[in-house]
Amino acid sequence: MIEAANHSSAPLIDPSQLREFADFLPGAQVLQLIRTFTKELETRPSMVLHLARQGDLANARAAAHFLKGAALSIGARRIALLADAVERADDTALVEHAQELPACALDTLSELEAVQLTLQAA
């Protein structure tokens, strides 16, 4: 189990988790998962931040929870832990944590692309 720890020290992507998908599933299914997660990264983090800034904290937490589940499923550990921090944050700290999400999403997208290229080359 991933421990709820400081997210900044967690890897953006756990390559072994993604490699296992590639070992167990047809390439098309792995690509489908990556594509779905890419869409999640492109939309959900900014949605969480928007909701948090609007003061809609319940829906911001719910959106962060959604992001966390998807991130854990594919091994995107850093953003999963950050989303968990948003979900658990008290009302005063929530926006502060949420502000980190869009940048972390961009870093995760770049790393995901790099891991994907490595997998395709293997």
Binding site: E3, F24, L33, G69, D84
Partner: protein, 204 residues
């Protein structure tokens, strides 16, 4: 008609990933996806396996598990959760579920766990006999509520008044009052606000 496995998660991507693992673990099963406990319950009677997320629109904690197992005693239930709380696995084991996995579990382990549970085994990172909870714990107290009391408590959490709860659940207001009194006694709290706060702590 082929046997089914139900994947219950409100996130389409999590259903997709679990469904793919199930396709490897038990290709003979037809996978049915459900986004809520109510949707899953409609097919649970015919399912060989159910994988269940713990944060659904209509079930936000492990407290829904014993209710489900009581209603469908033959159901094999594997909880797959994104909760990072280290106590969650023990709580799940204490509900009578057949296994627990984190959503971060690698697919190889997920496949192994699914096969074990389908074959009648269990899948926990410890011996399930070690899963007994301290009787005074908040989770143990919440678990001691009957199904009807749990439904009333969930309605209380939504801010419903006794009259509204009675209407929603098809009960008389007197029955709801009796349930609320019994809930406060079992949870050992002085008022409904404290009962709701306890529920929210366990769900977090």
């Amino acid at each position: 008609m082929s046997a089914i496995a139900i994947v219950v998660d409100d996130h389409p991507m999590c259903r997709q990933a679990t469904g793919m693992a199930l396709g490897v673990a038990a290709p003979e099963l037809t996978i049915v996806e459900a986004a809520s406990l109510a949707e899953a319950s409609a097919r649970a009677g015919e399912a060989k396996l159910m994988t269940l997320d713990l944060a659904l629109p209509d079930n936000r904690s492990v407290l829904g598990v014993p209710v489900l197992l009581e209603r469908f005693p033959g159901l094999k239930l594997l909880v797959i959760s994104g909760a990072l709380n280290p106590d969650i696995e023990q709580q799940v084991a204490a509900t009578g579920a057949h296994g627990y996995l984190s959503k971060a579990t690698p697919i190889s382990v997920m496949v192994e766990a699914m096969r074990a549970v389908i074959a009648g085994g269990t899948w926990f990172s410890f011996e399930p006999c070690d899963a007994a909870l301290a009787p005074e714990s908040e989770f143990a107290r919440l678990s001691s509520l009957t199904n009807a009391q749990s439904r009333v408590l969930n309605a209380m959490e939504s801010g419903r008044l006794n009259k509204q709860i009675a209407f929603d659940l098809g009960l008389s207001e007197i029955t709801v009052k009796a349930h609320v009194k019994a809930i406060l006694k079992k949870l050992a709290v002085p008022n409904r606000t404290q009962a709701i706060l306890m529920l929210q702590r366990v769900q977090s």
